[in-house]
């Protein structure tokens, strides 16, 4: 995108019918480190790639619990994201106070979208520079929404935002059709694999990703939105890597058997 004469403020349309300030805000989301969300019928998982400003500092907090039944992962201007998380928490608490029930996720996403839209139509404001993946559980099941700075929001089965998110999206596109029936464990593994795609070669460890899950078990009890602790995340990563290695190990004994049958290529020591 290049500078042009219609991009000075958010209340100026371009002749092509675009609001450039809003589009620039969406660029800010693309610069943030990656976040991934995916859901089954009963569970929703959020994963975020942690970026630290330097080795000396802690990494930015990108996943926030909004209520027992919902949470967000954000990419972009984290400060804007924190403010929006506070707003979401306030909306959920107010609803729970009046109705003694959790705010349905679609209605939460709508309130967030309406708040974002206001900033695209006031000359004295700027759009929020953060994209949020809103994951939650209500009586119609688990949901995942993506709210962007333009005030648009969509429901997704799986989605990725932030830098190098296209790699994660490609991975998710291959597999999302089966997600409805995935177990929570499978969802977690796919979320981690998707985040791994965005790391481009860097090793996936529990210190460069955050994982959170919310859902309802088969017996009806709710598993509230919770960050999975680093130790458990590392265990899952380790078991995923072990599972990748075992097909290779399984191949070895069978190749020694085939040696005797003769027609295959000679063993490697020649």
């Amino acid at each position: 995108m290049f500078r042009n004469q219609y991009d000075t403020d958010v209340t100026t349309w371009s002749p092509a019918g675009r609001l450039f300030q809003v589009e620039y805000a969406m660029e800010a989301v693309k610069q943030g480190s990656a976040c991934v969300g995916l859901r089954s019928r009963t569970h929703a998982v959020l994963a975020a790639a942690n970026k630290a400003a330097s080795e000396l500092s802690s990494h930015q907090r990108k996943v926030f619990r909004v209520a027992d039944h919902a949470g967000v992962a954000l990419a972009g201007l984290t400060a804007d994201g924190r403010v929006l998380s506070r707003f979401l928490r306030s909306e959920c608490i107010n609803h729970a106070f009046v109705y003694d029930a959790p705010l349905p996720v679609s209605r939460l996403a709508l309130r967030l979208a309406d708040k974002a839209q206001v900033c695209t139509q006031r000359s004295w404001k700027r759009p929020y520079g953060v994209g949020l993946l809103v994951a939650g559980l209500d009586e119609s099941g688990a949901h995942l929404y993506y709210n962007c700075p333009s005030g648009n929001y969509f429901e997704y089965q799986a989605f990725a935002i932030g830098s190098r998110s296209q790699a994660a999206k490609t991975f998710l596109e291959r597999k999302f059709k089966g997600y409805d029936d995935y177990t929570p464990d499978q969802l977690i593994r796919d979320a981690l694999s998707a985040i791994k795609e965005t790391l481009q070669g860097e090793k996936l460890t529990s210190s460069n990703c955050t994982l959170a899950i919310v859902g309802r078990k088969d017996d009806g009890t709710v598993e509230p939105f919770e960050m999975i602790d680093a130790k458990r995340v590392q265990e899952i990563i380790d078991s995923m890597e072990a599972a990748e290695e075992t097909p290779v190990a399984a191949a070895e004994p069978s190749s020694t058997q085939e040696e005797d049958k003769g027609t295959d290529a000679a063993p490697m020591d020649i």
């Binding site: 107010n94 106070f97 009046v98 109705y99 003694d100 029930a101 349905p104 679609s106 209605r107 209500d138 009586e139 119609s140 099941g141 309802r216 017996d219 009806g220 709710v222």
Partner: protein, 254 residues
């Protein structure tokens, strides 16, 4: 109400001037047109609620075909005793609530617990402004939760006192019907058993509550929805010896 009404139900917060008693304003002192008891109990398929169809104007039994039980959304019934105009106002708030809930069309719907909680907030807020909605409301319903069908029955009154129970009664019903319900209610009654128990209470109220009339409506709410049955009367017995020749042996002035 002439001022702008925000969507979150805060418009139900009533008269702005209630806090400051300026000239020409008054705090709510007493109700005018009132309904008497409502009784309700949980049974096997859901909740059953009953009351008479009368509304009194002081000691006059003024209106005789008044429906004091209404359906709310898909899952609940509300019954009210007390000031009838306040009940009508509450029905309008609930209408707005359920309509916007329905228009969402997103697989979520307001259950009896949510409606009860909302009403509690409204009633308590009004009481704090010394401008109460002069009612005792009974809220019953059934909703499929993640753990199966969940029956709900609760009440909230004009000062915001609220609770849930297996059987509820308002007004005179508290004194006359609750003892019967406590003795004879049991879990999972059939509809017929529940109606019999309800009619027993209604009969006592008819005999002993001077503001009740012999025209009743029974309503039930199950997972299939709400049914409000047409009004009917109960058989009463007045053939007591003391009622024969009531003036026999009475001292007269002529």
């Amino acid at each position: 109400m002439a001022w702008q009404q925000p969507m979150d139900g805060s418009h139900a917060s009533g008269s702005k001037v209630a806090a400051a008693d300026g000239p020409g304003t008054q705090r709510t002192q007493y109700p005018y047109v009132t309904g008497t008891s409502v009784i309700a109990l949980k049974y096997k398929d859901g909740v059953i609620m009953a009351c008479d169809t009368g509304a009194s104007y002081g000691s006059t039994l003024r209106y005789k075909s008044v429906e004091r039980i209404k359906a709310v959304g898909k899952h609940s019934l509300i019954g009210a005793s007390g000031e009838f105009s306040d009940f009508q106002e509450i029905l309008r708030y609930l209408d707005e609530l359920t309509l916007s809930d329905h228009m969402w069309d997103d697989g979520n719907s307001l259950g009896p617990k949510e409606v009860h909680s909302y009403l509690t907030r409204v009633m308590y807020n009004r009481r704090n402004k010394f401008d109460p909605l002069w009612n005792s409301l009974v809220l019953g319903g059934v909703k499929k939760g993640p753990k199966g069908e969940e029956k709900y029955l609760g009440m909230v009154n004009m000062i915001g006192t609220h609770f849930e129970e297996n059987h509820i009664a308002t007004g005179f019903g508290n004194h006359l019907a609750i003892p019967i319900l406590r003795a004879e209610w049991c879990e999972d009654m059939t509809f017929e058993e529940a109606v019999k128990l309800v009619e027993k209470c209604l009969l006592v109220l008819l005999y002993r509550d001077r503001s009740s009339i012999n025209k009743f409506q029974i309503a039930k709410i199950t997972t299939e929805g709400a049914t409000i049955y047409p009004p009917y009367s109960l058989k009463t017995h007045w053939g007591f010896a003391a009622f024969e020749n009531p003036s026999k042996g009475a001292v007269g002035s002529w």
